[in-house]
Amino acid sequence: MNSIKSFPIETFDALVIGAGGAGMRASLQLIEDGHKVAMISKVFPTRSHTVAAQGGINAALGNVTPDKWEWHMYDTIKGSDFLGDQDAIEFMCQEASEIVRELEHFGVPFSRLDNGKIYQRAFGGQSQNYGEEQAHRTCAAADRTGHAILHSLYQQNLRLGTTFYDEYYAVDLLKNQEGEINGVLVMNIHDGAYKILQSPHTLLATGGAGQVFRNNTNASINTGDGLGMVLRAGYPLQDMEFWQFHPTGVSGKGMLISEAVRGEGGKLRNALGEAFMEKYAPKVKDLASRDVVARAIAIEVNEGRGCGPNNDYVLLDISHLPDEVITERLPGIRDISQTFLGIDPVKDPIHVFPTCHYMMGGIPTNIAGQVISPDQNGHQQVVKGLYAIGECACVSVHGANRLGGNSLLDIVVFGRKAALTIHEALVESNTQTGSPLNLEPVKNRLTRWQKKNDPSAEKPDSVTQVKKDLQLVMERGCGVFRDEPTMQKALIELDDIQARLEKVCLTDFSNVFNLERLAAYELENLVAIAYATTRSALARTESRGAHTRVDYTERDDIEWLKHTLYFQENHQLEFKPVNLTPKHHKSIEPKPRVY
């Protein structure tokens, strides 16, 4: 074990934690503005999970159908089931066209139309003129848009010479004597050595936490590390009851089958061969919002119209599409189907079922990317020195349900914006604070994981086993459909998981690439997030977006048009109003959501 008594210190103007699209867009901006930045990532940058995004990025370019940012804004607010903050959504949609063109300038190999402009496909929940005809708003690089964007952003960072700390794990935020965030403790995964990276500006871009559920589309690295750090630092998480179950994951395995498949004309069918989305969304059918489609599939299966020997999936059929649409626009999907299902979608339908995909909630921030937390009087105050962007943040542009194509947009828009906010702060004052860092909490945490199993213990518990059991508890207790009894049961089971987490010991105490220790740190984050999710979901006695309560089936705007804030201390909940006042556009009034 490397020393945990004292740590070497390096100082930077700003730290960016996480090298996905959000973090790399931010670091690019900060380097361009001349600042000394450390980019910290627990994996080599192009392994970050942005790489797996498939379908595309939304912007009202109007290359295929007429479009306006105002329509994009309307669709996003409606898609969010009116929980999204309208000022933030307005900002994101206004920025979208410019930010996508900028990505094109960075080299992203977008697919092209005959006139040479960026190809745009139809995606769920997109309309022209505030709810009329289907829009084509999703800019795509075949079905590998995330890969194309992530690699291009990495390449641009190489061009500018960004300082990367690859395979460094951020363990915890560090506060100075004034209680301000002033850096982070990191572990070099290669040799297990710890180091303090000190800075007046720490930007979290650590991505999602889909590993909290058993069946998910997420990479194994998506363990919500930034969220765990924020909870331990005493700040809240927002809207953690809202998890997107993507309608079309590979059945029983979870790999993502992009919404682009339906955007290009794919149809969902049940065991009777019925194109069942006609029943649930008569107007837009298979291109309804993701929460709507996921629920429809779950209902079809629950009512016995699922396919296969266990009647537990539905079919996604693209065999009627011309072969060149599949080979040119959906090559990655074809690849995944062949590899994991042994099915060629040119001929046979893909077996799909909803799978945990995206976390709408996260670390509460304002539009500038600054983390905010309520003071004792309930007023939202900026947390000095701390910023969050992308999936780990909740700004909130996705509300209760994210539209496909809006997450890639979210990461680059707020990646750039947060960097500009930090730049302005650095221009105003660039002095390292002198007051010492409080290292006690993190030292206690590191010490805890040095504990060894009692050699007489019969069959000791393991980090892996606790994680597996946690994932099962969450899948059963907080899945697509929820009610009070199942969630209460999940809470009791979580208490058991928490007790096991406190007792479990490592078996490997080596320093070089100790993945068991890494998994233990990650597990602490996952358990904290599971509590945030279950507590928030139990409190919200309504159905809204992806949060579907069997015992409270209606949306309740009088009681629940508000954001949930969860604090780790005593599992306390607070609430704050939804922003309904965009700066330029008139407010979009909540109304029944029909597709």
């Binding site: 392994r47 790489v51 410019e98 960075f106 690089a141 080596s510």
Partner: protein, 232 residues
Amino acid sequence: MKFIISRYNPETDQAPYDQTFDLDNALLAADSMLLDALHLLREQDPSLGYRSSCQEGVCGSDGMNVNGKNRLSCVTSLSELGQTVTLKPLPSLPIIKDLIIDMELFYKQYKDVNPFLEAEPLDLEHEHLQSPEDRSKLDGAYECIMCGCCSTSCPSFWWNPDQFAGPAALLAAKRFVVDSRDIKHIDRLKELDSPTKTFRCRHIQNCTDACPKGLNPSRAIQELKSIMVKDL
């Protein structure tokens, strides 16, 4: 199933050695992938070192040598491998631990080909136009996931990983050489026209055989040579 896995922990071992693991077939499904088996083996021995992340063949973390061939464990079906599977780290780069290699030289070669678009500056009101035909020239070149399976299967890279760009870096180089938006076409070709860049390739084609994404770096390098002949 039996797994013979190359183990090495620099803190305790002088040199890598093989360790044999048995895995109960009942734990595996007909369509299990090699990565699923590795996860189960790590439950037996939590110190077993290998990288993995996306588990679906797009992040490029889990390149390893499987029964003598470089592959990604997450998209390698166990059913193809027989009852005994021999796993080694990707060859030719330093081993950090077990199946985890130090890819620094591989990344350095990538960086050295200037793998970023240099286009005519343009205001943010406009996108560079590119015809579908020009865009299609990037197909087969931009999809690389930098797993390293190709370069670490290349004998020319084995001899000189510090000098020879290797197939992955040359594939990236070609992606920018053929991008109609790029304005450094000739400069790029001049840089690549060197004995250690393009011309260290002997057209052995191990790279193409190894690529888990079905790309063809060998052909890309030959195309680079043709472009040089025509444009330089």
